[in-house]
């Protein structure tokens, strides 16, 4: 494993992507201690305060604290800086959870479809049907039906991704099941579930991890789009999407309300995509030779 780690660390895109994500993770974890106030607190004295101004912020419990409005405040008097930092949590959470849900459900379905001939036709036709519906419309319909909470948003974004994961895993399993080491395991009387978990899944992991990063990146974007359309999480949970959505009304006067969250969203998606590209270069045998020899 050590050589893989070394070649990962020597890959520029992996280093950049992982570095940016590490900083974002720290921001998400440490947001209460980075000079923020309660992101839901409104102080009518600071409605539409400009970026960089310093003042007293009246909290919900009546206390007042000295506060620097690094990114100004919105038309309810909420501190944009605090909202954007707390929004990092939701974005990363949605990204990671969506990838995990899509990978695990798609992974199981893909292994079943690839390994058991009898299930293949039925499962894949259902997946084809799902793929025929545009992803964002399916997500909108699901959020509308399930109500807007973090887990429903995750499920709504994950479901349209599942068919793609299933197809990928199925194609990997179709080739792996013919490998001599899988046949040898069969001849050694290894039970089928063990063959799947021990011999097939670990050898399909590299492309799956790569696919996972792309899903995470698109989930962060889709969550922002859903929030922007007003279908995402309710306004009391700050996300980059709904900060932008609320800032949209006053975009001409106060462009910062849209631009500051965008300044976080863009590098996040870029970093995850770069990380995925890098992982693919290093882990996927199909691309392994191009960079090296």
């Amino acid at each position: 494993m050590a050589p893989v780690l070394r070649s990962l660390l020597s890959h520029g895109a992996v280093r950049f992507g992982a570095g940016v994500l590490a900083v974002l993770l720290m921001i998400a974890a440490l947001s209460p201690w980075l000079g923020t106030v309660d992101p839901a607190a409104m102080d009518s004295a600071h409605i539409n305060t400009g970026a960089g101004s310093v003042g007293e912020f009246a909290l919900l419990d009546g206390r007042t604290v000295a506060h620097t409005f690094w990114m100004g405040a919105d038309n309810f008097g909420r501190d944009i800086y605090s909202r954007v930092l707390y929004g990092t949590r939701i974005s990363l959470l949605v990204g990671v959870c969506t990838a995990l849900v899509a990978l695990s459900v798609g992974g199981v379905l893909g292994m079943l479809a690839g390994y058991f001939r009898a299930m293949d036709a039925v499962l894949m036709r259902v997946m084809d049907g799902l793929m025929a519906i545009p992803a964002i419309l399916l997500a909108i319909a699901l959020v509308a039906a399930l109500g807007a909470q973090v887990w429903t948003v995750v499920v709504a974004i994950a479901i349209p991704e599942i068919p793609r994961v299933t197809r990928l895993v199925r194609s990997l399993v179709l080739t792996l099941r013919e490998e001599p080491f899988v046949e040898a395991a069969k001849a050694l009387a290894t039970p089928t579930p063990v063959i799947l978990m021990r011999h097939i899944l670990p050898n399909a992991m590299a492309p799956l991890i790569v696919q996972g990063t792309f899903i995470a990146a698109s989930a962060v974007l889709t969550e922002a789009i859903l929030s922007f359309l007003g279908l995402g999480l309710p306004a009391d949970i700050p996300t980059w999407g709904n900060i932008m959505a609320e800032g949209r009304v006053q975009f001409t006067q106060y462009p910062g309300n849209v631009l500051f969250p965008a300044l976080f969203l863009v590098p996040t998606v870029l970093a995850i995509n770069l990380l995925g590209d890098g992982l693919r270069d290093v882990l996927d045998p199909k691309f392994a030779k191009r960079g090296g020899a």
């Binding site: 001599p180 080491f181 001849a187 050694l188 009387a189 290894t190 039970p191 670990p202 050898n203």
Partner: protein, 539 residues
């Protein structure tokens, strides 16, 4: 003395830093005159292919020629521009590769591919080109040249594809023909035809031939001069008979003595033990359905009869597509037979469901051809070795003790249990595969082309190991191979398969000496020429 067509002087090609050696090819010199054939022989990693690709100007960018020169009719190739090399390839330099399927463009008809070559290198009119292509196709003995023009590579057999590649290589009557293992991917009967064709064309056109091969039998058949390479260096270079009969280098001697002889050794006493693996009337028919739902059966195997006793080695020989692997896979129940009965010892298993088969699976174990793919790359050797024993109810401790013991039996260090398969060579991995098969104490070992992917010297070691294991454990050994020499040395009895049928079976010595079936005779005739006997060393 005529001027050499190809002359290589002190060629050294550097490998990228960090490899297991500094040079892929080190100070190699050779000369080939018009009308002569030089065979370059060596095992994998000897640098023979790197040398050939350097001559063709197709060297991988990571490899750099750092010393020496290559002269083609007196013109230096190392200094030549890419444009000049393109001009030379095809016109003065013909090339034939190992795998004809990948050497041809799958989306162009064969006719168009040859035509492209002619348009690039000649000013001929369309009719002239067509006439010339048809002439060459006929010359390389392609059936129905007109149809070949319109065929795509996938519609042809392996031998026909290689003929197309040869036609492209010789159509412009090149001064030098480079053949890189041109018959390795082909069956023996096809191999012989292709070798004869190359020899005939050479005589007609007076080309010099640089022939890369790992097979001493091929060398005996066609070489004038032989160059033996090992680890990038020239070990020996002399006339063919000199090298084959009076090899000077110890390495050449070792290489020659590792080639199994075509004549079977004295037979072992006939095995009288219990029948461990038997098949009666075994058949496998694949049914595909077209879009109307009409069934199209393809018979892969029919009426196969076989009985394997304890301590006995039975060989199954045949060419690709003969059904020998299908038979093996049916017998070990990796695929389900569609007819007949199969017995593992006393148990009838042909149609047992997997759940009832599992407790019996330890009786019959298998070793596959490709050592790179027969071990799970993500699990340590130890994990792979204990899997079987633990599946049959042994505790982890017992299984680990057994694994350590097996490592000694296959002569690998016990510490290696903690390593991953990628850290072993091909031959070592094949030993590991054998150890894994032995871990659940089988009664029968099925070896499906188990030594075909290995170099001759490694092959000899694995065969010795199989013999040893068989003698110690009294195993029945079913040995599937396309290599008649290996079968001659290892097997007590052989079955010859052709188009899904067993056409002949009997004691090895008898089948080889008096083949009764026409196909067996053809197969035996096609095997590469016997090596002349080596003279003893004068010291």
């Amino acid at each position: 003395m005529t001027q050499a067509v190809l002359s290589i002087q002190g060629l050294t090609v550097a490998l990228p830093a960090g490899g297991d050696r500094a040079h892929a090819v080190q100070s190699v010199s050779l000369q080939i005159e018009a009308g002569r054939t030089l065979c370059v022989v060596g095992e994998s990693g000897s640098g023979k292919s790197v040398m050939a690709t350097t001559v063709m100007g197709l060297l991988d960018k990571a490899l750099k020629p750092v010393a020496g020169d290559i002269l083609l009719n007196g013109e230096s190739l190392l200094g030549a521009s890419a444009a000049r090399m393109r001009e030379l390839r095809g016109q003065t330099l013909g090339m034939v590769f190992q795998e004809p399927m990948t050497a041809l463009n799958p989306v162009m008809t064969c006719g168009d591919q040859v035509d492209e070559l002619l348009t690039t290198h000649t000013q001929w009119s369309a009719e002239e080109r067509r006439a010339e292509i048809l002439r060459v196709f006929e010359r390389v003995r392609l059936p129905e040249p007109e149809r070949m023009l319109r065929s795509y590579p996938h519609q042809l057999s392996g031998g026909q594809r290689q003929r197309i590649v040869i036609a492209m290589a010789v159509i412009l009557k090149p001064a030098l023909l480079i053949c890189d293992e041109p018959t390795t991917a082909l069956d023996v009967t096809t191999q012989q035809e292709i070798l004869r064709l190359i020899a005939d064309l050479q005589r007609e056109q007076g080309s010099a031939v640089l022939f890369i091969t790992h097979d001493m039998g091929v060398v005996a058949e066609i070489a004038d001069q032989v160059l033996v390479m090992n680890q990038g260096e020239v070990v020996e270079s002399a006339a063919r008979d000199e090298v084959l009969c009076r090899p000077r280098a110890a390495y050449t001697r070792q290489l020659l003595s590792a080639v199994p002889a075509m004549t079977p050794p004295a037979p072992r006493p006939v095995a009288t033990g219990a029948v461990q693996l038997a098949g009666q009337d075994v058949g496998k028919t694949y049914v595909t359905r077209d879009w109307l739902g009409r069934a199209r059966p393809t018979v892969a195997l029919e009426h196969a009869e076989l009985a394997l006793r304890a301590g006995e080695t039975v060989g199954v020989v045949g060419e690709s597509g003969s059904g020998k692997s299908t038979l093996a896979r049916c017998l070990i129940r990796l695929i389900d037979p569609t007819a007949g009965r199969i017995h593992w010892g006393d148990a009838e298993v042909a149609y047992l469901p997997e759940s009832q088969l599992r407790p019996l699976r330890h009786r019959v174990q298998v070793v596959f051809q490709d050592p790179n793919r027969s071990l799970n790359p993500r699990r340590t050797v130890g994990q792979s070795l204990i899997e079987g024993a633990m599946n049959f109810g042994q505790s982890r401790q017992d299984a680990e003790a057994l694994a350590a013991d097996l490592m000694q039996q296959v002569r690998l260090p016990v510490e290696a249990l903690k390593r991953y398969p990628s850290q072993f060579s091909g031959g070592q991995r094949q030993r590991l595969a054998i150890a894994r098969a032995l871990a659940c104490r089988p009664q029968v070992l099925v070896a499906d082309e188990a030594v075909s992917a290995l170099d001759v010297s490694v092959q000899a070691q694995i065969l010795t190991l199989l013999r040893e294991v068989q003698d110690r454990l009294g195993l029945g050994l079913l040995f599937i191979t396309h290599d008649l020499r290996v079968a001659a040395q290892l097997c007590d009895r052989v079955l010859v398969m052709h188009q899904g049928h067993i056409v002949e079976q009997g004691p090895t010595a008898q089948v080889y000496a008096q083949p009764s079936h026409a196909y067996t005779r053809r197969l035996l005739d096609a095997a590469p020429a016997a090596l002349p006997a080596m003279e003893p060393v004068h010291s």
